[in-house]
């Protein structure tokens, strides 16, 4: 039997510590504590093993990776392994000296997040004043001359400012702006009612993107599909265990950063196994590989090798069974779970629900004074 095709990318979550509290954070609801984080030596082994497997790109992320005092050492080890390395950062703590040191260690590019083009709303969504620091970080990245991507998670509370967000990307000197429509897992699922946009908001946003693309190639816009409204599921991760490996701060290895939430997955850990064993042999990475696991409408669907049945994490989160068709698919028997929510979003007229901010120690409602 031949093994699975080689992976391309590694998402290295160095820490779950973060100065921000975004209510759609992709980290799990149960955040990993600092005391259990992998050391720089462990990461050096992970990058070397990843490169031997075929990984050519690493996203050095978190939480906030700049909170690791040994980040330079970790980036250097990724660079030594021959991996193209991108820093994924909130920008808080990104001084010129720090970025110079990272670039000297071999860092190839930077992705900076911003929560909105409106300063007050950006700070509100981040759960703390942070816009000004991000503005400075953008200046530092531009001055360093590194490829610069700006990431903005889009949702009900900032979609209407998309023209200003694109304009901000231009003004800050970003090469590309990733317009990441909220994917509803973990924290975002917890905040779905507050974050789910209306179809009208999305239609306007799509027009804004099309107009920009017709006018200009800079910055390049990347539009992450809002699967709740498309009726077709996203080909998540390019297929389970097909392209990418996520390694969590404590060494847990996952086929997808949202797979933390799958309580029956039993994911392996890089402390116990080589990355090659994890990729090729582990139960977790093989669980939904290929098409053999498919049931329901996926099994004989012409698109099963195109969208891979959609997102396993979303199927699990909404139905409790990761092997069901992604409810985002209009052919799914569970599609009403999506439709009910979008219908609700259309008709909602009352006060917006409070945001539950991402914090260590579990989800709890924000203090009233942080709400508008």
């Amino acid at each position: 039997m031949t093994g699975p095709a080689a992976p391309w990318a590694l998402l290295a979550e160095l820490t779950h510590a973060c100065p921000l509290h975004c209510p759609y954070c992709s980290n799990p609801l149960e955040l990993v504590r600092k005391s259990t984080e992998l050391a720089a030596d462990d990461w050096a082994r992970v990058f070397a093993e990843a490169a031997d497997l075929g990984v050519v790109q690493a996203h050095v992320s978190g939480g906030e990776p700049l909170l690791r005092p040994d980040l330079e050492e970790i980036v250097a080890s990724a660079h030594r392994a021959g991996v193209y390395t991108q820093l994924v950062t909130s920008g808080l703590g990104l001084t010129a000296a720090r970025l110079d040191a990272l670039a000297a260690a071999g860092l190839n590019s930077v992705q900076l997040s911003v929560q909105d083009a409106d300063r007050a709303n950006s700070d509100l969504i981040a759960g703390r004043p942070s816009y000004a620091a991000k503005e400075q970080a953008a200046e530092v990245i531009r001055a360093a001359g590194l490829p610069f991507g700006l990431n903005v998670v889009l949702h009900r509370r900032n979609l209407d400012r998309l023209p200003e967000i694109i304009e901000l990307g231009e003004r800050w000197g970003a090469d590309r702006v990733e317009l990441a429509n909220t994917q509803f897992y973990g924290w975002a699922l917890r905040n779905r009612e507050a974050l789910l946009p209306t179809r009208e908001q999305l239609d306007r946003a799509k027009q804004v993107v099309a107009d920009h693309r017709a006018r200009s190639r800079r910055p390049e816009l990347v539009w992450v599909l809002p699967d709740y409204y498309e009726g077709v599921p996203k080909p998540c991760m390019g297929g389970w265990g097909a392209r990418s490996i996520t390694v969590a701060p404590d060494g847990t290895a996952l086929p997808c950063p949202a797979a933390y939430a799958m309580t029956d997955l039993n994911p392996p850990n890089v402390r116990d196994h080589s990355l090659a064993w994890i990729w090729e042999r582990s139960g977790a990475f093989n669980a939904y590989r290929g098409t053999g696991w498919m049931s329901g409408p996926c099994g004989d669907c012409a698109l099963r090798e195109t969208d891979f049945g959609g997102c396993r994490c979303q199927a699990f989160a909404l139905t409790g069974d990761a092997s069901r068709t992604d409810p985002a698919c209009a052919l799914s028997p569970d599609h009403h779970l999506i439709r009910d929510r979008t219908a609700h979003a259309e008709h909602e007229t009352g006060a917006a629900p409070e945001l539950v901010y991402r914090r260590l120690g579990g989800a709890r409602p924000a203090p009233a004074n942080q709400e508008t």
Partner: protein
């Protein structure tokens, strides 16, 4: 007999293509192919494409690149294929 070229093509032959600053050309020993690496993207190159891009060093002109390849590929339509390939990669923004 030499084919007469349009002036724009002749000018293109004198350019000195180089990889864009955000792009790295790397041999992938696992996939046994040349790759272009850039933020959020990896492009697997054909053997021919890899050979051409290895020569795009900012010093050689397109004409130099064609000449360098001619020894190894005497029968290939390099005069047509190389400028076409370089123009296509430029359109993607991966070559300056």
């Amino acid at each position: 007999m030499p084919v007469e070229r349009a002036p724009s093509t002749a000018a293109a032959r004198e350019t000195r293509p180089a990889l864009a600053p955000s792009v790295i050309l790397r041999y992938d020993r696992i996939r046994r192919a040349e790759l272009l690496l850039m933020p959020e993207r990896a492009v697997l190159l054909s053997p021919e494409g890899g050979r051409i891009l290895r020569l795009c060093d900012g010093r050689r002109t397109v004409a130099d690149i064609i000449a360098a390849l001619a020894a190894d590929f005497p029968d290939a339509p390099l005069e047509r294929d190389v400028p076409e390939f370089i123009a296509r990669v430029r359109t993607e923004g991966w070559l300056t």
